[in-house]
Amino acid sequence: MYSRLSNVLCGTYFIAIYGFIFLPVAVLVLYSFQDGTLPIPPFNGVTFKWYSEVFADSKLMSALANSIIVAVLSSIIACLLGFCAAYALSRYRLPGSAFQRILITAPMTVSYLIIALGLLVLFNWMGIRLSLWTVGVGHVVINLPLCFAIIYASMGDHQKNIERAARDLGANNFQVMLLITAPMLMPSILAALFLSITFSWDEFIISFLLSRFDVTLPVEIWSLLRSGLNPKTNAIGSLVFLLSVGLLIILELFVFRQRSPK
């Protein structure tokens, strides 16, 4: 069907672009094992020294813990608020519901820098000290529209009949939401949750501007960069990559796989 020339061309392009995509990651991981003080060629041999330095670095480790706490907590709050709003707006005819939908999804259209700056001005004015809490507030702001949009989009009419059946059988509104709607929508709720966690985990600018002493991992890595090229930065970078890929595999196996047979 396709000529040999086009097969060769496609194959070459495919390999070249994958090479481009993986080049920086490969270099990052390779030189995290560098037996030397600089993560640049020539490669001197394998050592795990930099990884043990990463684990011995209390600032990095507390930043890691901070990142996980902020990501998980802010994502749970965003998901909860998003789910409740999506449930109410798709199941009831509330006055001004179109406007409410626009309002909730509005932060999605604004860059993180502007959200961070706005919160910074507000917190300054109110005299609220910057901490992990203020970072968490910012992360809920960016993830709430995402969670709402994902969950709202999956609330279809076919679930309405099941909910009505549950109501006929005597369940109250709260029971319907908790025992019928939430389990039926679990794949999209989990997708929203994990996506929020990865966004919050990776977020830099809000964390940078809204934190002071306790920082998240991207901010701590950022301050490591001031010391220039360093195999230790490679090591923490590789670990972050590993963690993110792990999260992605969980997402793929437990969340998206379940939806694909439909």
Binding site: F14, I17, V25, C84, A88, S111, I114, L117, N173, W222
Partner: protein, 285 residues
């Protein structure tokens, strides 16, 4: 429809209110604050509300501020075009030439580095592009160049870092568009006598154009607002607008100017959105 009695409607308000309240408290109000601060000015370390447009007038009268916008726009347009041109063939190859059961894994592999931390990804490119980095060392070794190329701390490095990120994003969006197309289009086109290229050019490409526009718009928005990539890879030579905004915040503690510049940045994005609206709307039909 569900029973919309007054009672259950009130319950519905309970459910929707927390999200609305959060959005108003931590998005709408801060935004209003930022707009009002952009109309103030900095006197010493104090913010004085003078309610004038000085910060905006400054933007157009001080050339280094205006230049930041042009640098940002230049980089963003270049990145959007390059990324689309590189991503489309890859998405097409995955959708058309890779066997069905391998497509998902090929796609996941293509966007795997997407999930590295944003800061780490830019740092990785610094490793590759720096004067002693992999590319320069390899080229010197082979003997193609005798002096290391000045790759890092240039706008070129910023563009490379951005293109790397957005090729992955666009491959994902374009692939999902290609895969949704019914094979009947191709069959019909072939039945009517079109060759493979004609089918692609006159049928497949126009049908995926809305998807491309959505991806390109996303690229534009994310690229023009990004601070990390130009800061790590571009250095301080040609400052982009977000870099200048962060400089106002950090070194000069000038929140009013930073706020005004951010609103200008938002205005640029809005203009881009309005000019893409025609294509963005097409997707819904």
């Amino acid at each position: 429809m569900s029973v919309d009695s007054d009672h259950s409607l009130r319950k519905a308000w309970y459910f929707v209110t927390p999200a609305i309240a959060w959005t108003i408290a931590f998005f709408v109000i801060p935004f209003a604050f930022m707009v009002s601060v952009s109309l103030a000015s900095r006197v010493g370390r104090q913010i004085v509300y003078s309610w004038d447009l000085d910060n905006y007038i400054n933007f157009f009268s001080k050339s280094y501020l205006l230049k930041g916008l042009f640098v940002s726009l230049e980089i963003t347009f270049l990145v959007t075009i390059l990324s689309t041109l590189l991503a489309y063939p890859l998405a097409w190859i995955i959708a058309e030439r890779v066997p069905k059961k391998w497509q998902r894994i090929a796609l996941i592999m293509a966007i795997l580095p997407f999930w590295t931390s944003y800061v780490v990804r830019s740092y990785s490119w610094l490793l590759v592009l720096s004067t002693d980095g992999v590319i320069n060392k390899s080229l010197l070794q082979i003997g193609i160049i005798s002096e290391p190329l000045p790759l890092s701390n240039t706008t070129t490095a910023t563009v490379i870092g951005f293109v790397h990120f957005f090729v992955m994003l666009l491959t994902l969006t374009i692939y999902s568009n290609l895969i949704q197309l019914s094979p009947n289009y191709k069959r019909a086109s072939a039945d009517l006598g079109a060759n493979a290229f004609q089918t692609f050019w006159h049928v497949i490409l126009p049908l995926t154009l809305p998807g491309i526009m959505v991806g390109a718009f996303l690229t534009f928005v994310l690229c023009i607002g990004d601070y990390i990539t130009p800061q790590i890879l571009g250095g301080n030579n040609e400052l982009t607008l977000p870099q200048i905004i962060m400089m106002q915040l950090g070194r000069r503690a000038d929140i009013p100017t930073a706020a005004a510049l951010s609103i200008i940045l938002m205005g640029v994005v809005t203009v881009a959105y309005l000019s893409c609206l025609r294509w963005l709307k097409m997707e819904r039909t």
